[in-house]
Structure formats: C-alpha cells, structure tokens
C-alpha cells in the first residue's frame, strides 16, 4: 500500500500535477454555455437552514456507546504506565483502549505511522492534548467518570513549542531519532529539523550584485487553526465478522477509509465509509484523528461508538497550520526589474515530519518572473499538535513575507506597488521559481484589474491606509471516479465521490446538465459512500469542482454514447446517424432527417426494451489543474492610541478559469479573505511556559465575527484552463493567501510602520506605532 502515503500528502507531487500539458483539443474549448455560469439556488441550502442536514454528530445507531478520549496535559512526557483497570471495572464501561489496541500495521510507511501515533500516543505524549487512552461507555457521564479513573504515570520531558527556539542547537529534541533529510552528508546528530528543501534557478549571488536597491527582512507568523464550525465527529461500527462501517465528517471519506483500514488491519473493501455534510474543513479534515480510535473502541466493545470532539479538543489536538519564521531578501534595479530573490523559511510541523516549509518555499515567489531565485525550507519539529493543511497551506505566510518586501522595495525605488508587480509578474512561458513553465495564467490580469478598480482610487479617511498584495496556489487534480445513472423518468442521478465542502454538488451538476443538454433541475448530484465508487482523492487542493466536473463531463459523454445507441435501436438505424443535441437524440442524414428527435425522457422510458438501464461512468486522474492567482486590495483603519484595526474596505480579484456557479466562486473569494483577515489581525495559538495551550476556544482564539468585516467585494476573471473541458480552475484556496500582506502593507502605507509579526494584534501594532513615534 505504498501509494497510501501520497494520498495522505497529495501536494507532495504537486509539481508534477501542476505542470500544464496544454492540450489543443477542440472539444476542450467550449465557450457558449447554457447552464454553466448561472446561479441556481444551492441544492443543500434548504436542509442546512432548517436543520435537517445531517452532520457528523447527527448519525445514530441502536445500542450506540459514547466514546471519549483521555489527553495528555503535558507538552512532552514519557508514558511510563497506563492503568485502565479501575475504569474497566466501572459499570457501564464497555471498552477502554490504548495504543496497545492499535498495533502497528503500517508496514514501514512513515507518514501512516505518524498518523497512527498521532491518533494515540505510543510511549511518549508529544503535545498538550495528545490522545493517550479512550473509553466507550453507555452514556457521557459514565465515560467522563471512566476517564478520571484511568491512571497515567508520566515522566515529564523538556519541551519546545517555539519555531525559532526549536532550531537552536541545544533545544529539547521532539524526536531524538530525527536526522535532517535533504542535507548532504546526512547528519549523524539528531535535531528538530526534519527536512531541508531548496527550489530556484539562476545565480542569486550574482543577481544581487546587479541590484540598485536590496531589502532584507525577517518575519514571523503565529500558528492558526482552520476554525471550522463543526468539530470532528463520527460513528463507528465494527462487526465480529470483520466488516465495519463509519459515518463521519471528513473532506475525503475514501482517504479516511484507506487510512482506517490500514491502521485497523482491515481490508479496504470491508470498511464502508459514509461522509456527512461538512461544517467546514479547510484542510483540517484531510486525515484521521478520532476515527481509528472509534473503530478500535467499537471492535473491542462489539457495539457502535460515537466520538465527538469538543471545541477544546479540536484546538488542542486537531490540525492547526504552521507557525513560521521567514527571512526574505529581494534586489531590484532602479527601473523596477527584480534581479534576485532569496528566502529562508522555517515552518513548524508539530512533532512529525511534514512538507510545510517546502510548500512555503514553492509558493513564495510563484507570482513573479525571476531570473535568479532561491528558496530554502526547513521543516521544524515542535511540541504542538500535528500540523495539517489549511487552505493553500503555507502560502499565506510565505506571501506575507514576500509581498511585504515587494511593497517596501517598490517604495524604495519610487515605483507604484501595482506597477512594480506588473513589471515583474509571471506570464505564459515563465519558468516558475518552483520548477514548471506556466501555461496561460492570470497574475498579470488580476494586477491590471486591480489597477483599474474603483477601489484603488477611492478616497481614504483619517487613520486609514490602503495596501495590496498578490497570491498564488497550485491547485490539484487527482484520482476521481464518477457515475451518471439515468432514471426511468429521464431524470439523472450524478454520483460523485468528492465531499462537497463549498458547493461542488451544484457546480458539478451544472456541468453535467450542460454536457447532456438538459436543465440543471433534471440532474441530482449526490456524494456516494465508499462502497459505491472507485477511490476518490479527498476534497483538497481546490480539486472538488475541477476534478469531479471533469469526470462528470466525461461520464456524461459516455452516457451520451449509450443514449445514441439506444435511440438508434429505437429508430432501427445505424448509430453513426444519431447525434446528441440539446438533450435530444437527433437522426441525421438524408435518409433519416425527418425522424422526430427523441428526448432523454423518451429514451429512458424505453430503456427496458433497448438494453436495460442507461449509465455513464468515468474514472480519471484529473491532471492539469490550472494554477491560480489573485490580487487583493485592503483599506485598514488603525486607532493610533490603542493599535486596534478595522478593515473598512476589501476587494478580491481572482482568476476562476471559468466560474461554473459564480455565487459560489464569490463565496470562496470572500471566505478565504475573511479567514486571512482573521489570521492577519487576531488569530493565534498562545502557549504558556508549561507548553500548554492557553486559548483552546473561540472566546480567546479570536476569529472574526460578522460585524468585524466589511462586505468583501469580488471580481471574477476568467482565463480558461486549457486542461479542463470548460476551462475551470480550482478557486477555493488562493483567496486566503494575500490578506496578511495586503493588510500589513495598508498599515505601512498609513503609518509608515512595517509590521513583521502576524497576527498584527493591537498590542503588537501599538508597540510598533510607539517605537516609530520615538524614532
């Protein structure tokens, strides 16, 4: 099962996937649309606003038990002994599990082993909140009592939570066996640096010699959480016959199935996983946490078990993004041409090997056409929860650093910030700093649109500043499997395996309706369980609509082939004389031209006599996800006496390739910007000296509330992706990339202070303002 690890980390091979292979296929250049580009009501809307929609915690089984997890109160501790005997004896307790109940079936797959260890500590608790044991009991009070009866004998070890502290030579070791990868010769001494990566081309040192102006700065960003409103939840049921079922809130139930089957030592086909509606994931629901534990509890208790994380558990134990520390150096000539760019990025991974600095390194300079560029990334281990993807993972921090320096450099050479970027923007044919050569891309277009946008010219009020910044994300395609089944009444069931996190059911149905030539209302899109379709990668990398619409369109084409054959049979004419137009089979040629077209409905009604049910299937690796670029403009007002800032106006301009459902696309632009604004201003994990998380709740982990944000304006650009039948690109992630820098640049333009530490919370801003006043 070696491919499992690539499933867990789909971006690992992102460079391969994003290399655009430009296909000049006439079938791929559709421009006149009937359904695509309209804004029908969302099909999941009514159920969601009335409460009928079923989320992770809404599944229930007869005889179901309550599962609760005991978590380490220490940032780093050896688990000398776990005594579960008292808990097991408590009436009502049906199972207690520890790492001993999850033997290692990972067969040397390190990334899966890390996930296993993250689900349940194996000998050492590596962060505050790390699971050490779990119970299943008849009700919650009994389960809570049982947790208190489990005695864990800890030996507290020295810990480190700060990224810059962790890379110091004498830092406590998070994993005493970690030898840095990517360094020649391989070090013999362990450190907290799991891996070094380098990207770039040209000669950076020579480039800097040509520079008239060089700006060098160091930046820090604090760790944030995806902040999804729905906590992780699942119901697991394992039968003594070795089969199992799992109902779960996830971004990828096929991936969860594969993970759980491996960790539990089951056959993949014997575990059936059904995904629920999802109250947000943003990357945080891309690998398993409590699910294998729920299955292990169910297996041991021989009863279904529901595990629902509390908000505190979500914060302490589930996927935050990295904290980072980044040095950037960019040099330019007086005419505005960048001659060299260099960055060193240190990203926290939690206690396990990650690829977060690597992604930061790849995205850092992706917006620009650079002759000499280098990025070096260090994956840093710390005693914090295992880092998970968060919407364009690692790109926002890298963009914060790079786009801040870009602004400063523009200012120093006396050039407008937008013009400076336009001059250096990547274009079709540019070799990206991370390797591939770009196809048609939208960075230049978003910058030109920003320049022309009325927002750019609007007057500013007192204590207000305006900033802008650009952002990039790879996007991803991946394995996709989709079915179309035509019902006896001619209505169409579209069965996809990508979880709908942002409206993809509507968008994929629009594409299939377009291809079939039938009204959108005739196509019902559902997300099927893992028993129904072949493997689908999870909904990440902005791939849901991109890949499943592609597979859906191909499945529709296959269904059309069948429909034409059936019509031919009904007419008793050769299939070559049947075409498909506007949802109808049409007979063509002199001989048959007078036959009345057959509707999808008529063909479906006759299916029993023409060969049975009508279906179309498609299984693909959706290659060629077009890269995505955005430019944001932010107006920020700062109270100079308190450092409190308010976003007064905000505009997102982004390339969508083709906006299938423009309202959903706008929603993605706004949602990403909102999360980026929260990150920029207030969100951060705060650890005490004891290594414990101080703010595991929404009261003190401050995501923006509605009244904190202005209405976020959006402008959709459409530069078709040549690799998708309708030109679609993923749109879900890039919008979180520019806000950190756009807001920092706005503050700099308003007050002349360069904020280098995110979040730019009031205490940090006030301090910077006062330091500037003194200087």
């Amino acid at each position: 099962m070696a491919s499992e690890s690539t499933m867990a980390h789909p971006f690992e091979d992102a460079p391969n996937h994003v290399t655009p292979t430009v296909i000049h296929d006439p079938i791929l250049s559709k421009t006149d649309f009937r359904s695509v580009g309209t804004r029908p009501l969302r099909p999941d809307g009514l159920d969601k606003v009335t409460g009928r929609a079923r989320y992770g915690a809404d599944f229930n089984m007869p005889g179901q038990l309550v599962g609760l997890v005991l978590r380490s109160p220490h940032a780093h501790a050896k688990i000398k002994k776990i005594d579960t005997s008292k808990a097991e004896k408590l009436p009502g307790v049906k199972a207690v599990v520890t790492a001993a109940d999850l033997p290692d079936h990972t067969g040397g797959d390190q990334s899966m082993y890390d996930i296993l260890e993250n689900c349940m500590a194996r000998g050492v608790a590596k962060y505050d909140g790390h699971a050490v044991a779990a119970v299943a009991a008849v009700d919650a009070p009994t389960a809570r009592k049982a947790l208190k009866l489990i005695k864990v004998d800890y030996e507290v070890l020295p810990h480190v939570t700060d990224v810059d502290e962790a890379v110091k030579p004498n830092a406590p070791l998070v994993n005493p066996r970690m030898l840095t990868e990517g360094v020649e010769p391989k070090p013999k001494k362990a450190s907290n640096i799991a891996k070094r990566t380098e990207f770039g081309h040209g000669d950076v040192d020579a480039g800097f010699k040509e520079a008239d102006v060089i700006v060098t700065r160091s930046f820090r960003t604090e760790q944030t959480h995806q902040g999804y409103i729905e906590p992780h939840a699942c119901v697991a049921s394992v039968s003594p016959d070795g089969t199992g079922e799992l109902w779960v809130c996830t971004q990828g139930h096929f991936v969860y199935r594969n993970h759980c089957a491996m960790l539990l030592g089951m056959d993949v086909s014997k575990l059936r996983v059904t995904s629920s509606e999802i109250g947000g994931g943003f990357g945080g629901k891309t690998h398993v946490w409590a699910e294998p534990v729920a299955l292990a509890l169910s297996r041991k208790a021989n009863r279904p078990v529901k595990v629902t994380m509390t908000r505190e558990e979500v914060f302490r134990a589930s996927g935050p993004t990295s904290a980072s520390s980044i040095d950037v150096k960019i040099g330019a000539r007086k005419d505005g041409a960048i001659v060299a760019a260099d960055a060193t990025l240190r990203f926290t991974c939690g206690p396990y090997y990650g690829m977060w600095a690597e992604l930061g390194s790849m995205t850092a300079f992706a917006c620009y056409d650079l002759k000499n560029v280098r990025t070096v990334g260090y994956e840093v281990l710390v005693n914090r929860p295992k880092t998970a993807a968060y919407r364009a993972p690692s790109a926002p921090m890298a963009a914060f650093a790079v786009e801040s320096v870009m602004d400063e450099l523009a200012h120093k050479i006396g050039m407008n910030a937008v013009d400076f970027r336009i001059k250096n923007a990547a274009k079709q044919g540019t070799r990206a700093s991370y390797g591939p050569v770009y196809g048609p891309i939208g960075i230049g277009a978003t910058l030109e649109a920003a320049k022309k946008h009325p927002h750019m010219k609007a007057p500013l009020g007192k204590n207000q500043g305006r900033g802008m910044a650009c952002g990039f994300w790879f996007n991803f395609g991946g394995q996709t499997c989709t079915d179309i089944n035509v019902g006896p009444d001619g209505s169409v069931t579209l069965t996809v395996g990508t979880v709908d996190v942002g409206g993809s059911r509507a968008s994929i149905a629009l594409c299939v309706a377009e291809e079939l030539g039938v009204p959108y209302e005739q196509v019902k899109c559902i997300v099927a369980d893992t028993g129904t379709l072949g493997h689908n990668d999870m909904t990440d990398g902005s791939r849901g609509t991109f890949s499943s619409s592609m597979a859906g369109i191909f499945a529709a084409r296959n269904a059309i082939t069948v429909l034409r054959e059936r019509a031919a049979r009904m007419w008793e004419i050769p299939v070559e004389h049947v075409t498909w137009e506007d949802g109808h089979a049409k007979a063509v040629g002199e001989k048959y031209g007078n036959l009345a077209p057959l509707s999808l409905k008529e063909i479906a009604a006759a299916a029993g006599n023409t060969g049975g049910p009508i279906a179309g299937h498609s299984e693909i690796v959706a290659d060629g996800a077009g890269v995505s670029f955005a430019t944001h403009i932010a107006d920020v007002e700062v109270d100079p006496e308190t450092g409190r800032s308010k976003i007064v106006r905000y505009t997102v301009i982004q390339d969508a390739g083709k906006a299938v459902h423009p309202a959903y696309v706008e929603g993605q632009y706004q949602g990403g910007a909102a999360q980026g604004i929260g990150w920029a201003l207030n969100e951060e994990y705060i650890y005490g000296k004891d290594g414990r998380l101080q703010n595991p709740g929404f009261l003190d982990y401050r995501i923006p509330v509605c009244s904190d944000l202005p209405m976020i304006d959006t402008q959709i650009l459409e530069i078709p992706n040549p690799n998708h039948p309708y030109g679609v690109r993923g749109v879900g992630e890039t919008s979180i990339v520019p806000p950190l820098a756009a807001i920092a640049n706005a503050m700099s333009n308003a007050f002349g202070v360069r904020m280098t530490h995110v979040p730019m919370s009031p205490p940090r801003v006030l301090k910077a303002l006062e330091a500037a006043k003194k200087a």
Partner: protein, 286 residues
Amino acid sequence: MQYEAPETTKAAVGLLAKAKGSAYVLAGGSDLLVRMKGGFVEPDLVVDIKRIKPMREIKKTASGFVIGAAVSCAEMNENKALVKAWPGVVEAAGLIGSKQVQSRCTVAGNLCNASPAADSVPALVAAGAKALIQGPKGKRKLPVEQVAVGPGKNALKKGELIEAIELPARKDRSGDAYLRFIPRTEMDIAVVSAGVNLRLDKKGVITEARVALGAVAPTVVLVAAAAKAVIGTKLDEAALAKLGEAASAACKPIDDKRGTIEFRTKVAAVLAKRAAEIAYKRAGGK
C-alpha cells in the same frame, strides 16, 4: 442535582441557607450553565430566581432606581427612564456577549461572577451603585465595588443573595459613560475597560467624579486619584493627561492570552480619557 425555582426571596434564601453541598443562584445562567457544562462546577442545588416577581422589575423611586436581580440586560436597555438617567451603565450592560446573551444575563450575575473583566461592573462602580443583599440574618447593603473580592470570589456569605442593584437618582448636570477595549466588535471579553461618572457646576467645572477600571487588577478598581485629577477642571488637555496618568498608575494587570501588562496599562489611560470626554458631554459640558 436539585433544581428549585421559588417564588419569594425568603424561600430562596431559606433554600440556600439550608443547602448541604454546593448551592448556586441561577439568574440568566450565562456564566453558571457554561461552567456546569464545562465541568468546572457540579452544584448540588441550583436556585433559579427568575420566578421571584419583584426581582424581575425595574423600579424608579425618589432615590433612584432599583433593578431586580433577575432583570436581563436587554430589559434594562428597553427601560427609557433608566437609559436616560444612566446611559453609561446601560451601554455597559448592552455590551455583554451578544443579543442572545443579553436577553438572559443580568448585571447582578455579572457582579457575583466576580470577573475582573465584567463589563457592567466598572460602570456600576462609577455610578455609585449598591447591592441589596438578603440573607438568613436579614438585609444589608454593600457598595458594588465591595462585592467582588478576587477573581471568581464574592463577599456573599452562605445563604445570601443579591436581591437588587440600587442606582442613585441622576443629579442635574451629571453624566456617565463606559468603554471597553476588545480586538473584535462583539463576543469578546474586555482586555481593559473604564467607567466614568461626572457632575459639573453651572460653569462646566467638574465637582464630582468617579472613575473605575476593569481588567487591570484582580477586581474592578475605583481610582480616587483619577477622580481627583479632573475635579475642579473643565476637562482640559492637562486634566485629561493627569487623568490618564492616574488611571495607568492604578493598573496592576497581568500578562495573559487577552493582553499584556504594557498594553493594558496604556490603554486604561486612553479609555479613561475617552470615557471622561463622553461623560462630560452627557453632563452638558462643552
């Protein structure tokens, strides 16, 4: 756990006094229920005071206002006479949580919960409010600044509860204001806060002042030096500067997840000055 909802104050006091284990008064429950759900408290007895009629009323008397302990903050904001007389107190009550929270929570609960960051308390302290306490040994009155004795600790003895909060009558040429600092716009806890109540003479010179600060010490503090700094002035630049200095000097805050010592100390001055300016205007000063 035993739940009781008596209809008289006497019955409530009786239940609390007789209780064997831990006993809690339940007003809006926006603190108590959260603490129960979080497993921080496991009460043996909960006495709900919302069925006690006099506790649900706001009474305007010759000597001011009597706000029953079960009156919600939203109800306070609907009482026109109260809003007119004590805008600072009412706007403080109207800042607690959100609309949903305000429709349940009470200022008496805010006071008894004894958080140094409680929003209504600095405004009540500045206003010179008193807590009317009923207990097994009868009635007593306590200035609100004496109710909280430390974070999460109040001065009530076993069997005692607050029956009402008493606000003095609004004197002519006087006004109050409350400001809090939060990084967001709502659903947040004060990082630092200030309540100010001022009275002026006919020329606009301040004759009486009370300044209270929240979230800068273990309890809300009444800052006499800050009041002194503005009495006898027309709240000119110099007076404001002195007020700010006195406010900062009174701060003994901590560094925590919500703010730093440095930040709280500085912003206490800013808020005290801004609240004083609003109160001054409300008192008719120019």
